[in-house]
Amino acid sequence: MAHPKRKTSKQRRNKRRTHYKATAPTVMNCQNCGATVQYHRVCPECGHYKGKLALEKEVSA
């Protein structure tokens, strides 16, 4: 079996990792209370989804 001749240097490793990036989640404001909410999620503040009351507070928490 073929094997690597050299250990991957720190520089090579780090350069490879420059392309590993985290993407920011897309957020919007809740139609009811204005809190910042991720898309397709129930608002954690007020339990509304698409401007309608979906879940009471204690359930959605």
Partner: protein, 232 residues
């Protein structure tokens, strides 16, 4: 080969997975709403919905089939006695999955899965909006049969129409009047517009109907795009 054996194993062996889904289905039926991870909820949905459909036919045979899946007689009783009369009119889609964010600890994608007919808040919101929004096109032939009856009323007295419009859309009453005039001109020539007026009068299935109408009369769709934003 694994070809097309495409479902989520949920990291469990078959027996473990079946037992878990069975327990989750019983819990959902007993409590109407359970909190779980999104992956499990989606697996549960395809497990429990056929059982809910089975419950519409209350026979010993279907009870035994459901029991063979649930292995819980309280849940079976609850399903056939209390749940099935509520879901009898719903053609599938008995559950709703609402995503609620991620869990502390493993950052798992969490959600709430519930029986649609037991969420009082959303049911009330739906009624306020006015009935179910129409998502299927195939039923339109049925609607055409109904529509002539509805059309008959606005054709006879058009004046009656304008106050009705003002009641329904208080904010936009000023704009409603020219619309009515427009409708008056074309009402005799085009029945589709008349149907639109009927819809406005009822103010019931406004949104869905409007979409239908706008599809039908592409030429006279001047009114419909104006109306759509108001009704929301």
């Amino acid at each position: 080969m694994r070809h097309r054996k495409n479902f989520n194993h949920l990291g469990r062996k078959s027996g473990h997975r079946k037992a878990m889904l069975s327990n989750m289905a019983s819990s959902l039926i007993m409590h109407k709403r359970i909190q779980t991870t999104t992956a499990k909820a989606k697996a549960l949905r395809s497990f429990v919905e056929p059982l809910l459909t089975k419950s519409k036919d209350d026979s010993t045979h279907s009870r035994r089939i459901v029991f063979s899946k649930l292995q819980d007689k309280e849940a079976v009783t609850e399903l056939f006695r209390d749940v099935s009369p509520k879901i009898i009119d719903r053609p599938g889609g008995y559950t709703r999955i609402l995503k609620t964010g991620t869990r502390l600890g493993d950052n798992a994608d969490m959600c709430v899965i519930e029986l649609v007919d037991y969420n009082e808040n959303l049911l009330a919101a739906q009624e306020e909006k006015g009935g179910k929004s129409k998502r299927r096109r195939r039923g339109s032939s049925k609607k055409k049969e109904d529509s002539p009856k509805a059309v008959a009323a606005p054709q006879t007295d058009l004046e009656k129409k304008t106050p009705a419009v003002e009641e329904t859309k208080e904010i936009t009453s000023e704009e409603a009047a020219p619309e009515a005039a427009k409708a008056e001109e074309t009402v005799n020539t085009n029945e589709v517009i008349a149907e639109d007026t009927a819809v406005a009068e009822e103010a019931a299935e406004i949104k869905a109907e409007d979409k239908d109408v706008s599809e039908k009369n592409d030429d006279q769709s001047e009114e419909t795009p104006e109306e759509e934003p108001k009704k929301e």
